[in-house]
Amino acid sequence: MNFDFSEEQNMLVQSLERSLAKSYDFEAFREQLASKITHVPETWNMLAELGVMAMPLPESAGGFDGNHVDIMAVCTELGRKLITEPYVSSVVLAAYIFEATGGAPADEHLPKIAMGEQKYAVGFYEPGDRHNTLASATTATQTADTWKLSGHKAVVLGADTADFLIISAGGDSVFLLPANAEGVSLNQYQLLDGRGAADVVLNGAEAVLLGTAGGSAAIIEEAADRAAAALTADTLGAFDEIIEMTKEYLRTRTQFGRPIGSFQVLSHRMVDLLVDVEQAKSIAMEAAVEARNKDVTIRMKAVSAAKAKIGAISRKFGQESVQMHGGIGVTDEYALGAYVKRLLVNEMLFGDADYHLTRYANL
């Protein structure tokens, strides 16, 4: 049993921390948000240069053959610093789909992901079908030499700034197309926490089949699980920051002549959050370790356990940390709210707590 990051992972985390500390502070983040910028090329390039994009990819694609614990290490830092770059969309979702479906598209695009040269977004979910990963209303029609896609993909993370889209059709096939292809219309927006997304409406858009037609349901599910695991790690970073902020506030804010942390109802609730953070770390570790397990049941159980539990803890964290702060906790200028919103987005994407709890209960 070993619950630590490896030496390489620790070094990676440290250099990430250093680089992000330089480029990011909360005021800069607020300005970025106000300007509706979801992707900052300098940050993206910095991530590429640090190697965190190449890291989890296969050696053949210029990667370092990393694992999902590497992803955990990276995503925790991204969450901690509220980074809005579409890292998970490209490096977790798209990269895995290329790897799993193989062939010429993989040879072409994986190296571009590794270098951060192109950005990718992956759309599975559809309006009215909530958290169903295998939503199937989007259709793909084969013509003489190509496929045409029609349908509507909901809240596609990173699709607002992606160069390429990977879209599922019929719930069991995946297709690749440029984001600016004819027949694609994007309704782009910021999410609550400043990350970017778009609704993608396809109207006979031409696309390339990845893998085999009707053969990718398992790949879609694994991709979503890997992304879900990555987001639980992202949330760990946010938890850490919320804990620090709240502890500090409890120690320093005074009321009735004493620090509010000396009021037992607050300090004891803080303790419950601390216990929850330990539980969240544990279950996120398991999800990271098992996210690539070949045994599908082991993978699904670990990921659903983590996504459901951390989702529930996130809700409690948001509510409790705001309540302990009082008024200032609900304002935009104080960083707490930004983290609470980050938690909400992580909670809802790739299956909310209810979805994963039900899945777990049925496994």
Binding site: Y125, P127, G128, D129, R130, H131, N132, A154, V155, N187, Y189, Q190, L191, L192, G194, A197, D199, T254, Q255, F256, G257, F263, V265, L266, R315, Q319, V322, Q323, G326, G327, G329, V330, T331, D332, E333, G337, A338, V340, K341, L344, V345, M348, L349, D352, D354, T358
Partner: protein, 399 residues
């Protein structure tokens, strides 16, 4: 024991319903029903419609132009307004300042201020909280120093709800900095917000909206006749005022409307191809909160009847505030859950005057998460739920 309305109450409810059907403008109703933010004009327009009917200030004594309703009738009115989608009548002038003026204001003050409150011509703001004095109001630092016919006011107030539209503000200020206890030496004073030296700065909430403000006072000259009651006795007037927040504090009307809206959403949203409202787990969550609300509705009415009968309200309003805020917050949370992915797109200004954005999902989905975030305030403002528990505990246990 009989839980149904009396004949008179039923007739009254029907009268209110008919009035609301006729008088509530469609555009205003739509904002409510879609969880939108009311603008200044909406509030003012609805206030004058009510004022014309005499229902803007129905709890006021008849001699001051009120209707002298009892709390039970008011509760019926309040609930019907919520269900119909009417904006709330802002409490600052009508139900906070006015009762104080009526009780301890000078005749000149009553004459000068009550008509503007009633008609809605004067928009009043509340200036109690300060950055270092929220739940612990007694530690406020703003000062008013007597200088001839005037007070010179300096300091900062915060969390001033809708203060950006304010014509006037009533404030607690320290007039005797040397008093022994922090509660003494505080005065209650009325300030024209157009006076030189008053500055209103917005506080943006985490849902992206501008609802509260900081109000700064720099050497603001306030005529001495704007002092309410006696100098240094402001604390007791403030306490009197806060008690008047009691009626409607359980938010039963608000929560009933949210429950209805949650059910409508859950009937539309799908889970596993079936309406979400048929999912056994979600359905059970709705049933739980519906039952809690059902009980709260009766508890609230019981307490109103007791109050009308003259029972000391005691810790009742605190208890209603605690449970009422929990119920409302749970409902907003379930509405967000029901919205699924479409709760995530951030469109804070949608539906505001001049904003023509289309919602990414439905307007209900899009507003569900910001509303959830915004309404975390319900358990914080007006004395946090922790403060309320301490009040009850003090009264019941003695600690």
């Amino acid at each position: 024991m009989d839980l149904s309305l009396t004949t008179e109450q039923s007739a009254f409810r029907d009268e209110v319903r008919t009035f609301l059907t006729d008088a509530l403008p469609e555009d205003i109703k739509l904002i409510s029903k879609t969880q939108g933010h009311m603008g200044e004009e909406h509030y003012r327009r609805w206030h004058s419609i009510l004022a014309e009917k005499g229902w803007a200030t129905p709890l006021w004594p008849i001699e001051h132009g009120g209707k002298g309703w009892g709390p039970a009738n008011y509760a019926i009115f309040d609930e019907e307004c919520h269900m119909a989608g009417a904006p709330r009548v802002l409490p600052f002038g009508v139900s906070m300042l006015a009762p104080v003026l009526i009780a301890v204001g000078s005749d000149a003050q009553k004459e000068r201020f009550l008509p503007g409150i009633q008609s809605g011509k004067d928009w009043w703001s509340q200036g109690f909280s300060e950055p270092g004095a929220g739940s612990d109001l007694a530690s406020l630092k703003s000062t008013a120093v007597r200088d001839g016919d005037h007070y010179i006011v300096n300091g900062q107030k915060t969390w001033t709800t809708l203060g950006q539209f304010g014509d006037w503000i009533f404030c607690l200020v320290r007039t005797d900095p040397k008093s022994e206890k922090p509660q003494t030496g505080i005065s209650f004073i009325l300030i024209d917000m157009k006076s030189p030296g008053v500055e209103v700065r917005p506080i943006i909430m985490m849902d992206g909206c501008h609802e509260v403000n900081e109000v700064w006072f720099t050497d603001v000259k306030v005529p001495a006749e704007n002092l309410v009651g006696k100098e240094n006795h402001g604390w007791s007037y403030a306490k009197m005022l806060l008690q008047h927040e009691r009626i409607g504090i359980a938010g039963v009307g608000l929560s009933k409307e949210q429950l209805a809206s949650l059910k409508r959403m859950a009937a539309t949203e799908k889970k596993n191809g079936k309406p979400l409202i048929e999912d056994p787990v979600f359905k059970t969550k709705i049933a739980e909160i519906e039952i809690e609300l059902r009980a709260l509705d009766i508890t609230n009415k019981r307490m109103l009847v007791e109050t009308e009968r003259g029972m000391d309200p005691g810790p009742v309003s605190s208890m209603l505030k605690i449970r009422g805020s929990e119920v409302a917050q749970k409902l907003f949370e379930l509405k967000m859950d029901a919205s699924g992915l479409y709760s995530l797109p951030f469109q804070p200004h949608i539906g505001e005057p001049g904003n023509n954005e289309e919602p990414v999902g439905t307007i209900h989905n899009t507003r569900s998460a910001p509303t959830y975030l915004n309404t975390r305030k319900i358990s914080i403002y007006g004395g946090s739920n922790e403060i309320q528990r301490s009040i009850v505990s003090k009264m019941v246990l003695g600690f």
